[in-house]
Symmetry: C2
Subunit: 318 residues, 2 copies
């Protein structure tokens, strides 16, 4: 029998969110609580279980309704274990699925937030109806997910597809992951901020310092300055956009997708970033027939995690 709805959990460094989603992607009852990750994994998992119980009671749904969890990674979706994650300090090989199944009595599926978001876009978002998708989450870092013929690419340990950590230049800048020349080292929030900080120390940086009212010259500040015509800021976004576009071209050669979806906070910079990216794509994808792959923005916005977790639950248990 088709599942009428599922429970989606968006586990983040700051908040835990839980919602009921139906098969059409309507979010019904929803609630949130602070993650309070400093209390350690057991306390966080207890809080997730409590929130699931509260939302389920409020919505009046049965004990047979399963749960999908979007979590920061790296994690192994096959074993249900979160290996560790910068967003949740102190987590090391935490068996999230088995603990939550025990606490809730429900079936639970786990996937990393980038892969969940790809599933969410496919089932409920901009890529609805697609079977072949590359999803890029442009945030402080860069995550994402790839679906080919309806199957999520996640590899031996479920650690793929780390498309933010693929090569833009063999001689490029060092990435926070330790590798060299990753896409994330060019086009992520932190990479844009790092370039802006360099500019900020020069005379060219006056406007950036003025706009950074809270003292942080983040990507949004750069975009505001660029919109005013600030040349150094335009150049920063062009550099990031060029790397993003070249990578998208390379992903098209790799995956032959129907669509590329761009999500995450940095995607809200819009065409200041994506304009330069779009110009590069045809130069880095080689077969004419691939050059018209649509590159669109996510339609799920701040609820991407919930939609992704719900899509994961439907795909796993329905």
């Amino acid at each position: 029998m088709a599942l009428p709805h599922v429970l989606g959990v968006d586990l983040g460094g700051t908040n835990i969110r839980v919602a009921v989603l139906d098969a059409n992607g309507s979010i019904g009852h929803a609630s949130r609580t602070k993650t309070l990750s400093e209390q350690g994994p057991d306390a966080v998992i207890d809080r997730i279980a409590d929130l699931i119980a509260a939302v389920a009671a409020e919505a009046g749904i049965g004990a047979d309704i399963p749960v999908g969890i979007a979590s920061p990674g790296p994690l192994n979706p096959r074993t249900g274990v979160v290996h560790y994650t910068p967003n949740l300090p102190g987590w090391r090989d935490v068996p999230v699925v088995s603990k939550l199944e025990q606490l809730t009595g429900r079936k639970v599926a786990l996937a990393n937030d980038g892969n969940c978001a790809a599933l969410g876009e496919l089932r409920f978002g901009s890529a609805r109806g697609c079977k072949n998708l590359v999803y890029l989450a442009l945030g402080t870092g860069i995550g994402g997910g790839v679906v080919t013929e309806g199957v999520l690419i996640d590899g031996k340990n479920g650690l793929g597809a780390e498309i933010g950590h693929t090569l833009v230049s063999i001689d490029g800048p060092r990435c926070t992951c330790g590798s060299i020349g990753c896409l994330e080292a060019y086009a992520s929030g932190w990479a844009i901020q790092a370039e802006a900080m360099k500019v900020a120390t020069t005379a060219d940086g006056d406007r950036l310092r003025e706009l950074a009212t809270d003292g942080h010259i983040h990507a949004g500040v750069v975009a505001t300055a660029a919109a005013e015509g600030h040349q150094a800021s335009i150049a920063i976004l062009e550099r990031a956009g060029r790397a993003l576009g070249a990578s998208i071209g390379s992903f098209i050669n790799m995956f032959d997708p129907e669509m590329i979806v761009i999500g995450g906070g940095v995607a809200t910079l819009g065409e200041a970033l994506m304009g330069p990216a779009r110009k590069m794509i045809p130069q880095y994808s080689f077969v004419d027939m691939r050059r018209d792959v649509p590159v669109v923005y996510s339609s799920l916005g701040g609820d991407t995690g919930l939609y992704g977790a719900g899509a994961l639950a439907f795909m796993t248990f329905d």
Copy 2:
């Protein structure tokens, strides 16, 4: 009922080869004929059908035994159409599968040679028993295939995974495919030869010109000179190997594979190329647990096309 054997066809620019393969990968009856591609697609397809009939008659196998074809691409395995291919001049949107099914009365599956080879390695070769594989065919160009959880990644039009045409450097050399900075522009036979031709015009190139007895300073000549200690040749192979290793690191982040298999003629250069590659892999793959992914040579050698075509037939029809 399990298929006892299949017919494999290796369609190349020079030769057509047909063989009977059993489920364990033993090649039974086999034969070959010239492709004579200048006679055009219909004549070539007739020759394939004739050779299939001859081999089947010789082996005494029934009309119900299906056929797998490994062909140069780009092609669409879902429609059975070869779009065009540099190796077979004049081919344009040739419906190979429907024509061959009509001529032979057999079921026919088609895939590009790189993807077939990945399936062949998985079923019969170095990656036997794996479910997650990246296969690289290092030849004049670079092709390959990727399998994730047993599924071949080939995308919307079946054109993936063109892993030879993924990014090594956004500021890299122009590739024959028209893009910039592809792996093929660094580590393929033609790229190594192009670097060697530059050296050959200098005083450093004396030894290369001496060794090129047929006038062609191909990759094998560079390897011979490098083995003698010729510094410029060692540098050429190091440059190619470094790009190959960085790409493999990036593929590990992307696909989380169990194994990387290296095949194709350029792979026979061995550790002169692969040594520098192996050193780079940990610098370009970011999670410690991925750094021990084995990188091994193909065990199928010159019969890769036949094994791959056979594996395709078993996977499609068994």
